[in-house]
Symmetry: C2
């Protein structure tokens, strides 16, 4: 099918496509919240039914957490087999009071649909399924297709990959692993994601006294758990933003000059970045550019810090306990377990005498991934993306992580391809997540053209 | 009345005394919580009624916050006038799940009564009123008495003193200002509180991006508000526990060698301190003893730190906002406003570029107070306390603050006297606050003997 025919088909079917996308978003599939397990199961069943409507042989595969949606559809012989990956789970929606409309009641404002998951990753799954629908309706010759949608991506769990590696991994074998859970460098500019960072995470808790103490009676005597944890966190970086953990950068693979140039070529200006996020890109290591810091360098981020009193007015206590949630984004070459060990050892070694430190909710989700700039697949996709926009396709080394992409390519024996149409102002993982119709449309066009021309 | 007669009277009236004390504790007078304004008003009215039953002329005086309970009772001529001060408000009770019994449903376990306020300050007010009841019932010649009970001590508000200084301060004139809101150095050991620290406090908020950002996409680009606030807090002290704010110690009055020796003489051993609090007294400046640090040195304590995600599982965000509640305990000589300015200026100056910092909930509650070791009043009280125990009375320079004591002595033109019977294991300001019957009894005996022998 030609690009113009596909575009016309989408215009004609827009109402039904949007209704299906909205129904998908109404499932509150927050995988980190055990209270939403039922919503996750219902959403997985809804996806299975939708794939069966498209002529797939589809089933739910149990895992230690949320079910996988697994499906296959035989295609024309001699074409490569494509495994399509996505995740139906979403990030928690809090702080709820910052949402303009409820996170699981999708609403259009202008060109954009607002809901948790509107983009990440339900919106992108939605256009891929619409692309399949258009091709199948129009009887286009397709490659053999396999589908894998998981429900544990956003909580750092490896339930999906663990289940896959033990249960019938042969059913996943493919030539290409197509993942649409990705961003563009700028709205409207097609982008190939060439790299993803690795990820590890944990919760650290510092305990001082047995219970909170009066800050007058005990101030100057009892150590303050909040102050101690703040000082431990401060010790993780030097004043130039460099991680101060011993040997932390030892295994980092440096980018080639070409990779570095391509990464910087499409980077947002500081002003554009600030217009989107409200702040200039001044975090991280001062001696690298923002694109290099996010694409090729590891980070240690505090995702949450909670200790003591946070209510109205004041409460003059020395908190007994302080807790922080920390994630490590890893550069190519770094081992998640080794990085977890280095950081937790650093924190333990820097703890002042008398207090206790403990670690929980450990997750060593995966290594970083880097694609080969010179492969025929990447060259073909670049040509297809060039049809979609007057702007040349961009190459992105993404700061984010897709833990399953650290293991799935090896398991499926497939070449990874990561092309998505998320935009930096979609507010994923934050209040008021949204996805524009134009991004959906471009995603649809690419997915359809890619699958039709393999 | 002799000590033995007073003791016998208390034994005979124990049931009624305990019932009154328990009724007092059932009012959830959390002054920091606007939802408990009604409970505060009801408790104040209950106190007024109780004072009227004792023959006082009593009334409620409105303030900008909770009402004052003001009362007077003429006494024998030529005796000094005594103004008795206390506070009927209490600290917030959270974390509620750490209480063995509900905080506002007083319960006895062994010798101790458990409830929020069991000691601080309702338990101590309760024994003073019981002492008055015993003396009045036994027709003991008493000095002229004035009562002042406030309802805003625990939230750092100055509503009481503000109301008093503008409305009829002459009605407060007294020779002695007797305050029972104080501790002993060890359970059973009578103690004169010779000093209190001053207090100032505020909430600081650091804002980075407009909303929380994805920690992968933005990690290494957007500054992390939690990390930045942790680093700001870490910058407040050096590695030896000394406050690193410029000129912070300039105005601190050093104790005399005699004061220092007396303070150290009754200090808990590190082991005893750890047995009570669960931690050795390793906080604060390493070059001073724990008693010196709490009695004569200022501190900066983090009362709460909240930023980002704190729920179950993980949420891979860069928090946009981080907030800390901070209190400054001030040594004799330090000006609260000047200290507030120095600390907030330090935080502002250490803020990295790009972020915003703001301060709210400012409270400059009061200067420190120090009594004169050689005054006749202190000598008389020492002799009375010596009757109560085989152990000699202790002299305590308290780490805590009673903000009204920073201004009330000057307003009442009265000499301050601070004698209370709180113990370090009463868990005031913490879950499972309690007060033992023996502490109540000693407080009753001292209050009665003191008022009967003036």
């Amino acid at each position: 099918m030609k690009l113009s025919d596909l575009d016309q088909w989408l215009t004609q079917h827009r109402g039904a496509c949007v209704a299906t996308w909205e129904n998908f978003l109404r499932f509150p599939t927050v995988s980190a919240d055990p209270g939403q397990d039922d919503a996750c199961c219902k959403c997985a069943a809804w996806l299975r039914d939708r794939l069966e409507q498209l002529g797939f042989k589809a089933r739910l595969q149990p895992t230690s957490a949320h079910p996988l949606v697994v499906a296959e559809r035989p295609g024309v012989p001699h074409k490569p087999t494509v495994l399509i990956y996505g995740h139906y789970d979403v990030q928690p929606a809090d702080p709820l009071d910052q949402w303009t409309s409820p996170p699981f009641d999708p609403q259009w404002r202008g060109d954009r649909l607002y809901a948790r998951g509107a983009q990440d990753n339900k919106g992108q799954i939605a256009y891929v399924l619409t692309a399949l629908e258009s091709l199948i309706q129009n009887k286009v010759a397709l490659p053999s297709l396999r589908i894998l949608f998981e429900g544990d991506e956003e909580c750092g769990r490896t339930a999906a990959i663990d289940a896959l590696s033990t249960q019938n991994p042969a059913s996943l074998q493919a030539d290409i692993l197509y993942n649409c859970d990705a961003l563009t460098v700028a709205p409207g500019r097609p982008t190939i994601t060439m790299g993803l960072r690795g990820l590890a995470g944990f919760t650290v808790e510092v305990q001082g006294a047995t219970s909170d103490l009066h800050s007058g009676v005990h101030g100057g005597k009892a150590p303050n758990a909040a102050t101690v944890l703040a000082r431990l966190i401060a010790s993780l970086h030097d004043d130039a933003g460099r991680i101060a953990v011993t040997d932390y950068y030892n295994d980092v693979t440096d980018p080639t000059p070409e990779e570095r140039a391509l990464a910087n070529a499409t980077a947002l200006s500081d002003t554009d970045y600030a217009a989107i996020t409200g702040i200039a890109p001044l975090g991280g290591e001062k001696k690298f550019t923002p694109a290099e810091r996010a694409g090729f360098r590891p980070t240690i981020e505090i995702n949450g810090f909670h200790s003591g009193y946070g209510g109205p007015g004041s409460k003059t206590v020395i908190p007994a306990v302080a807790q922080a949630k920390i994630t490590l984004r890893l550069a190519a070459g770094q081992d998640p377990e080794a990085c977890y060990q280095k950081v937790t050892r650093h924190l333990t070694q820097h703890l002042p005498p008398g207090l206790k430190i403990s670690f929980s909710e450990k997750s060593v989700a995966g290594i970083a991934l880097k694609c080969d700039l010179k492969s025929p697949l990447i060259q073909k996709v670049r040509d297809l993306l060039a049809e979609l926009s007057p702007q040349p396709p961009a190459f992105l080394w993404e700061g984010g992580s897709i833990p399953i992409m650290a293991r799935l390519p090896a398991l499926a024996k497939a070449q990874p391809l990561i092309v998505g149409f998320g935009a930096v102002d979609d507010n994923i993982h934050a209040p008021n997540e949204s996805f524009s119709w134009n991004q959906y449309r471009m995603g649809f066009l690419f997915a359809a053209r890619f699958l039709a021309t393999l």
